[in-house]
């Protein structure tokens, strides 16, 4: 009897394993940055000639870094959600304009609105590499001490706001600097 049930058991086990594997999204690579200090950069600001922006400027408050580009289609869908997040929580979001041209970025912002606290220009994508960015849009949550606490890959949805981002922002705001 055992002889017949053993292969069946193995088969069911394999099915369970494969089914579990189906639920994993291989596009979501866990970021090794969680819990590590945000990589430094010093980038020119869009709309502010001659001024630069660095993560050190944001020290002491909870903030988000949202990587976007005018050529990125899903950033368009995400834009409304980002705007809503700012409206709901008053969070400061720094836009990292990734591999874009200033003219096109400005045209995009004129068309859809500019909700960002400030925008840093990463025309060559070097800061992107430093932050481990491999697909836009990506969003990082940084705490008061300048530590990365969350990386969201792909467009943020309204659902993500409720389940992930807003609760985290509230918790982090409660922490001491």
């Amino acid at each position: 009897m055992m002889k017949y049930f053993l292969p069946l058991g193995g088969f069911i086990l394999l099915c369970a394993l494969l089914f579990f594997g189906l639920g994993n999204d291989p596009k979501k690579v866990p970021s090794p940055f969680i819990g590590k200090p945000a990589p430094a950069f010093e980038l020119p600001r869009l709309y502010a000639d001659g001024e630069t922006l660095s993560p050190a400027d944001m020290q002491g408050k909870v903030w988000l870094l949202n990587v976007w580009a005018s050529w990125c289609v899903s950033c368009r869908a995400e834009h409304a959600v980002i705007t809503k997040l700012i409206g709901d929580t008053g969070i400061d979001i720094v836009g990292l304009n990734y591999k874009d041209t200033d003219d096109e970025a400005k045209r995009w912002l004129t068309q859809f609105g500019n909700p960002y606290y400030a925008i840093a220009v990463d025309a060559e994508g070097r800061t992107g590499i430093d932050w481990g960015v491999y697909g836009v849009p990506e969003t990082f949550v940084i705490d008061k001490k300048g530590t990365i606490r969350l990386k969201h890959i792909g467009p943020v949805t309204v659902d993500d706001l409720k389940t992930e981002l807003i609760p985290l922002i509230e918790t982090l705001r409660g922490e001491s600097a």
């Binding site: 970021s31 994508g125 590499i129 491999y134």
Partner: protein, 159 residues
């Protein structure tokens, strides 16, 4: 064309695509042959995270182009191979390595095939043994032989 020549030609043709799978890689000047060697090895060993089943050498995604540039610049600045690998792992995690390192997390990945091999050998061994035992059981004892002979003789006497 004789069949052997045809076979050899066929096998040679199979080797062809291997040499043309590379993406259009930018041309770089290297300071030393060693540096060029390091660069070539790195772009084959590191994964492009946009098209995840390609390495940096195969991929022409923008990120792959940028990462190749990053590797080249790091090597020019005097970094060695391990520095570049550390830099990439620090930013993109171990997933960036096409050849995963051997550690607690990847134990099953590396050891799995050998476990299955042993399991297979064990099953094979058991089957062979079982088969042998059944064959032995089928050999007749001397008493059985005697009985069979007697029965056969009886039969032939009746004929």
């Amino acid at each position: 064309m004789n069949p052997l020549a045809r076979l050899i030609l066929c096998m040679l043709l199979c080797c062809l695509p291997l040499s043309v799978t590379l993406a259009n890689i930018e041309l770089h000047d290297f300071d030393s042959p060693q540096q060029e060697e390091d660069y070539r090895e790195l772009i084959f060993e590191l994964r492009c995270l946009v098209c995840q089943n390609q390495n940096l050498a195969d991929s022409n995604a923008e990120l792959a182009v940028d990462l190749r540039r990053q590797i080249y610049e790091m090597l020019q600045d005097g970094a060695d191979k391990q520095d570049v690998i550390d830099y990439m792992v620090e930013r993109y995690g171990e997933f960036v390595l096409y050849k995963p390192p051997f550690n607690a997390q990847t134990l099953l990945l590396w050891g799995g095939p050998f476990v299955f091999l042993l399991l297979g050998l064990f099953v094979l061994f058991r089957l062979v043994r079982q088969n042998q035992r059944e064959t032995t059981a089928k050999t007749l004892s001397e008493a059985d032989r005697e009985r069979a002979r007697a029965l056969l003789n009886e039969q032939s006497e009746q004929d």
